[in-house]
């Protein structure tokens, strides 16, 4: 493989990762890292460095559309970013002091659990909670969005803000430790715990992962892990894919998004548990 053919293959894979990432509220690192290391034989350090850049690319590329189309809930994003950035800082501080084996096992279990919960909810429809929500009331988090697939404005209430904050703190730690945007943890936290509609969860997660990833990207850059030659086609391809995918989210059925997300979660959970068990 020549440098030119590498650039073209990496570009192709990244467009795909950006498309999927923007539709699911994740950065696409889960797709990019295996393609770069296994298929294109890139060193893992540079693959992770390129992945963190791709998270920011997905986020910024898709969020511009989501914010304009009012799918992302800005207030929820700002409040939860308090917890994710604190978590990312804690993660950077404890990195290296915790065994990666346990890390894999814990995350694998968390993901398997949230995919089961999302699956149950998928079949039960979207019953929204009427529980009192004093924090969400005070912070004015309740909002509405226009669902293109249903062709109408959907109002929603936000509940369990404090549980959401706690879950986002954990998601932030994961980002700091593993150098990912951890959208796979953010989307279920908003969708399941806080009662946000799945499209709003995806759009808001996309908006947030950029900030979480920016916090770790500085560290990766000063370590020399961001190789411009590897990161360039990845960033470019992911941006194109995310900008395209974000135009589709509004039109998709919520149940389709959930089904694809649950499948992806289960796959990632299995990968993580396997790595944890193998040691």
């Amino acid at each position: 493989m020549t440098p030119l053919s590498f650039v073209l293959w990496a570009l192709l894979a990244s467009v795909f990762a950006g498309l999927l990432g923007s539709l699911l509220g994740i950065g696409g690192g889960i797709i990019i890292i295996p393609v770069l290391t296994l298929a294109l034989h890139i060193n893992i350090r540079y693959a992770i460095g390129a992945s963190i850049v791709s998270v920011i690319a997905t986020s910024s590329g898709a969020a511009a559309t989501y914010v304009r189309e009012r799918l992302a809930n800005l207030r929820v994003a700002m409040v939860l970013e308090l917890a994710t950035t604190t978590g990312a800082l804690s993660g950077a501080l404890i990195a290296g002091r915790i065994s990666t084996r346990w890390l894999y096992l814990i995350f694998g279990a968390v993901m398997a659990y949230s995919s089961l919960m999302m699956f149950r909810k998928m079949r039960g429809g979207s019953a929204r909670s009427d529980r009192p929500a004093p924090w969400a009331d005070r912070l004015r988090l309740h909002s509405s969005y226009f669902d293109e697939a249903l062709g109408k404005e959907i109002a929603y209430r936000v509940v369990s803000t404090r549980i959401g904050l706690a879950l986002m703190y954990v998601a932030g730690i994961v980002s700091g430790l593993l150098g990912i945007g951890s959208g796979v943890l953010k989307v279920p936290a908003m969708d399941l715990a806080m009662g946000l509609p799945v499209k709003v969860s995806v759009a808001t997660s996309n908006f947030m992962i950029g900030v979480t990833a920016a916090a770790s990207a500085g560290i990766y850059f000063s370590r020399g892990d961001i190789d411009p030659f590897v990161a360039a086609p990845v960033a470019f391809g992911v941006l194109v894919g995310a900008a395209t995918g974000s135009r589709w989210l509004g039109r998709l059925q919520s149940s389709t998004i959930r089904l694809v997300f649950v499948t992806l979660l289960l796959w990632v959970a299995a990968q993580m548990l396997l790595r944890g068990i193998r040691g």
Partner: protein, 132 residues
């Protein structure tokens, strides 16, 4: 709902910041990559060059000074690195812009929340510098 038009304006401003950052960094990354291939014709045909470019040992720019001095010499890879740095900064600029938007709406709670997020973000950059 009160302040709906204010929120709408804020959303459009933030969306504009993200779009500008993304388009600008894409243009710079594309230009740098094209320049790299124009200046190194062997990259089109030599597999050995890829091994050198994608394994540790190759000098990867690590500081702002590395990047800037490379850009002055019109090195393609340094221009790409500058584009990547701009991309990394886009979310930070987005948070900073949000503060101004909330100030304009005199929404004190959210000015405070967003300022703390920006501080934490800057703290992590400083930390990265200290750890890196």
């Amino acid at each position: 709902m009160s302040g709906d038009t204010g929120v709408r304006r804020a959303e459009l401003i933030i969306s504009g910041v993200l779009r500008t950052g993304v388009l600008l960094s894409m243009a710079i990354i594309l230009a740098g990559t094209l320049l790299t291939f124009v200046r190194h014709r062997e990259y089109v045909s030599s597999p050995a060059e890829l091994v050198r470019l994608s394994q540790p040992g190759e000098a990867v720019p690590q500081t702002l000074q590395d990047v800037l001095s490379g850009v002055r010499e019109l090195r393609g890879q340094s221009i790409v690195a500058a584009g990547l740095l701009l991309l990394i900064l886009t979310p930070v600029v987005r948070v900073a812009t949000s503060i101004l938007v909330f100030v304009a709406q005199s929404d004190r709670t959210y000015v405070l929340i967003t300022s703390v997020v920006l501080l934490l973000l800057l703290l992590s950059f400083l930390l990265g510098h200290a750890l890196g």
